[in-house]
């Protein structure tokens, strides 16, 4: 891009772009996308609102930039998948809850999810991310004919935890401890990954259910 040596005015003595980003980050996480207006944000930084557009193109651009510096899920996911497959369900739940429970991580993630629900393009971003970084890899590791179905369902269950505990905050999930959640959700996740297609503990009510699928391996 910049072929010629640096011409023109140098960035102001305080790096205004970084300042805007920092304040925006704080306020977006605290007040949500709609709660932050460009004018009020500009006033906070002590700058004209047009400058934000100048640097970030638009309000959404600014939000995207904030997300960029706030959310890095990929490395956490990679760590999870590296470990022992047997213990993955418990570890996944524990890691997820731990990460989301600390506000410095949870708030950015929450605002990201909120924004994604409202904005189809952001939703597509998350959708693709989940699929490539998590579901495909997980399916590879568990193997078997219905690996993708199991992996997808697994992610769905994890997503449900995020949705009900953090976005909706519905009780009792919202105030259960990490251990309690691992205890109750862990076995279900194990069933999804490794279990048979129907738990044989009681009569599966064979009538309507197409209870037989590909062999549970």
């Amino acid at each position: 891009m910049n072929s010629s040596p640096r011409r023109g005015r140098r960035p102001g003595s305080p790096d205004v772009r970084a300042q805007i980003l920092a304040v925006a980050r704080d306020r977006f996480h605290r007040e949500g996308y709609d709660g932050v207006t460009m004018r009020s944000l500009a006033a906070d930084v002590g700058v004209d609102a047009a400058l934000i557009s100048y640097y970030f193109g638009s309000k959404r651009g600014l939000f995207a930039a904030v997300l960029e510096i706030s959310v890095h899920p990929a490395d956490i996911l990679a760590k999870l998948l590296e470990g022992d497959l047997e213990t993955l369900p418990q570890r996944a739940v524990r890691t997820l809850v731990t990460v989301w429970d600390q506000p410095e991580m949870g708030m950015p993630l929450l605002s990201a999810v909120r924004a994604a629900v409202a904005d189809p393009e952001l939703a597509a971003l998350i959708r693709r991310g989940l699929h490539r970084e998590l579901i495909d890899q997980l399916a590879d590791r568990i193997g078997g004919a219905d690996a993708h179905h199991r992996a997808g369902t697994f992610v769905g269950q994890i997503g449900g935890l995020v949705f009900t505990r953090y976005v909706l905050a519905v009780e009792p999930l919202a105030s259960m401890t990490v251990d309690e959640i691992v205890r109750t959700l862990g076995p279900a996740l194990r069933t999804t990954l490794f279990g048979p297609v129907a738990i044989p503990a009681r009569r599966p009510h064979a009538a309507a259910g197409p209870a037989r699928g590909p062999a549970p391996r």
Copy 2:
């Protein structure tokens, strides 16, 4: 058409309120809350925008009215809980997917969820609804010491299905058939409701996990 829309009350008794509601319902479901502007909606109905405020107080009031006539989850939930507890997981999944898959029901529900994510008051509504109508009742039916934890986790997983399949539309969940979903998610839900705290199919890797909880009844 009518080139000079006269001021004042219209002759006859056209039920304009119902007309507004019908058009709003359609457009909200198709274009989402933010996609519908009061002016464009008013133009669609052939009416001044102020009339909407007159009838419904505010845009949110209109949206609430649309939800009112579009979403009645309570009766469906009641039916579910009436049936045999043993088959509840499968039936719940099947009912949920069936309902959400038909656009006449699914779109309203989806726009409700979307709105709830953006608006804390609506979120509180859904939160309370889920808790009173579903979790408490379900906990009563399954009984036992950790009934509430199990019920909450159950609802969380169901919510995850909604979130990932319908809101985020992440693959492969988004294009799995009803039967496939019932097959993969059903057993996990059974585990949540009735299962032990750790599935004994393989060595539960006793180290880290607080794998023992209240007896599984």
